[in-house]
Amino acid sequence: MTPRSIIALAIAAFVAFVVSDSLFVVNQSESAVVRQFGRFVRETSEPGLQAKIPFVQEAIKFDRRILALDMPSQTLLVGQLQVVVDPFTRYQITDARAFLNSVGGSEDVLRGRLEPTVNSVLRAVFNRFRFEDILSEKRDQIMQEIREQVDKDVQAAGYGIRIVDVRIRRAEFPEQVTQSVFTRMISDRDRVASEIRGRGTSESRRIRAEAEATSTKLLAEAQRDAQRLRGEGDSEAIRIIGEATNKNPGFYNYYRTLQAYRTALGPGNTTFVLGEGDGFLNLFSKPSAPQ
């Protein structure tokens, strides 16, 4: 290479450098602060190619998308209950200049500032509610209140950000409480089981007793019908015999008495003591036939 071409190359490099330093690209997702020897000149969130004075001005770019701050879990007191919560915060850099000046444009520095703020607000707000509220529809309202409070604090601190929202990713009981919850759930289930068993026992008893009662009723009804039938039979018999005997009651009396003698005094150990006066023996001592 000749010295001339080296010089040409150097010049070209210098020109390229000047041109590149007088232009900067602001991405769609970025905003930028332009400073001149440290003095704030302007802030832009207009994406595209922008110009600045080379060497004299510097462009500092910031992400203006919604950023996440996922915070470590911590134990809070909600009402009377200890609860482990994992909060997360979404924020957005709205004022790049303020952001730059307050936390040096560093998200890590901001994290260090924001975490305690969110935590203390969480503590303060949660403490006013019962745990049940956090689980209820009130949760939205509570989180909204937290968001607003954090936002207010952040505005007051002038970090140049806005809080998009604060949410609880998870809320859990500490291990000890979890164990006692399990114990309660187990006893609860045991209670339900015993209720079901008891129900089964009483149900089966009821079914048996009902069957007994029904069968008693069935038998009683049968007895009732049986008595009726017997009565019918008896009355029918009386009627039939009555009809027959009414033709000659005197003879019936006579005839039936004789029949009764035959059956009642029938063969057996009956001993008759008869005298001559008895009808059957009235011929006993009268050898002649009556005229």
Binding site: I134, R197, G200, I207, A226, R228, L229, R230, T270
Partner: protein
């Protein structure tokens, strides 16, 4: 997070690897030598032999051309030409600013100045959140607290796609991470609003619907039957609410994400409670079999009673037949006797009497006393008379 890395919905420039990234390194040939050879080659190509001011200009143009081509290749286009696949939308940025969106097909952009990012708005993406699956966070569990302060383990799956590439690319630094956190918080929120039984419906126990065994042996439900709750509907309802809430949240972030589905894949009872929970089912089964046995017994009892009742009725009916028929017979007999008696009443009565007495007295022990027997009667040893009776009776039969 850069969107040039794989894993996202964007299929844009080939991630990471630049076209020259694989050039073998190490001791190459002498660079001066290379430049010299290159110059010679170009001289041969370029008109004018590459000498003079015109030649330098041509050299410069060629260099610029090569640079543009290489830069384009790095960004996935060939001299500004690139293709957008079906289902994708390409977002074109000029110096970082979004200038337009392009539909599928062969497209062109101004090289160097513009670059494109293609995002699929059709691709179905899945986010699974299950116990212990989140990276770098061992403490994560899928245990959630329900409204009645029970714990339940819920895994869930979110199906999503990009609905607005521009929002998706430029509004959130970490859209997927945001989706994950938002989904988790929403699911927990709604689990917290539900009762344990909403999420894990209890077994439908038929015990809740008491039955009774009727006299004819059929089993019918007792009137006060509890209406059957449509279980599962709560879960479906919950799922819909969660999905709506998550969508709303993502819309608030202007995330450009559309939730196509949210499923609770595995709501389960936590392990320590499992056996107690199974115990309830066990109790239900026990109770059921207990009741079944009772029904069996009831059926037996009732069958017995029905048979007994029938037998009682039949016996009575037989009695009725018996007495009426006996009466009929007696009546007929009497009627016939009466008839003959009326025909020969003078001797018939005597004959009947004598026949009867003959039979009665003929078969019995007798003591006949003459006149004055009445006074002697008190002195007769009745015991002796009685004692002789069986022997006498036995002979007479």
């Amino acid at each position: 997070m850069s969107w040039n890395q794989g894993g996202g919905p964007w299929g844009g420039p080939p991630g990471g690897q630049t076209p020259w990234g694989n050039r073998p390194s190490g001791e190459g040939p002498d660079i001066d030598e290379m430049i010299r050879r290159g110059q010679e080659r170009i001289r041969r190509l370029v008109p004018g032999g590459g000498r003079g001011p015109f030649g330098t200009f041509a050299l410069f143009l060629l260099g610029a051309f090569v640079l543009v081509a290489l830069q384009g290749l790095a960004q996935g286009n060939i001299l500004g030409f690139y293709r957008v696949n079906d289902g994708e939308i390409a977002v074109i940025q000029r110096f970082g600013a979004v200038v337009r969106e392009e539909q599928p097909g062969l497209r062109w952009l101004v090289p160097v100045v513009e670059k494109f990012t293609a995002v699929s708005t059709k691709k179905a993406l899945t986010l699974q959140i299950a116990g212990g699956t989140r990276m770098g966070d061992d403490s994560v569990s899928n245990r959630m607290i329900t409204r009645d302060l029970n714990l339940v383990e819920v895994d869930f799956t979110v199906q999503w796609r990009v609905s607005d590439p521009r929002k998706f690319l430029f509004n959130l630094r970490d859209p997927e991470g945001t989706l994950r956190l938002a989904a988790e918080s929403v699911v927990r929120e709604y689990i917290g609003r539900s009762t344990f039984d909403d999420i894990i419906p209890p077994e439908q126990n038929e015990i809740l619907n008491p039955v009774t065994v009727q006299a004819d042996g059929t089993t019918v439900p007792v009137e006060e039957t509890v209406p059957v709750v449509q279980t599962g509907s709560q879960v479906v309802n919950l799922k819909v609410q969660m999905q709506e809430r998550l969508q709303k949240l993502l819309d608030e972030y202007e995330s450009g994400i559309y939730i196509t589905d949210l499923q609770l894949t595995r709501p389960v009872v936590p392990a320590p409670v499992k056996s107690a929970y199974d115990g309830v089912q066990q109790a239900g089964n026990d109770a059921k079999s207990n009741i079944n046995r009772a029904v069996v017994d009831a059926n037996a009892t009732l069958a017995n009673a029905r048979g007994e009742a029938d037998s009682i009725r039949l016996q009575a009916s037989a009695y009725k037949t018996q007495v009426t028929e006996a009466a009929r017979g007696e009546a007929d007999r009497f009627g016939q006797v009466l008839q003959s008696y009326e025909a020969a009443s003078a001797t018939a009565a005597t004959r009947l009497y004598l026949e009867t007495m003959e039979q009665v007295l003929g078969n019995a022990n007798k003591v006949v006393l003459g006149n004055g027997a009445n006074s002697a009667l008190p002195y007769l040893p009745l015991d002796v008379l009685r004692r002789t009776a069986p022997a006498a009776g036995g002979q007479q039969q």
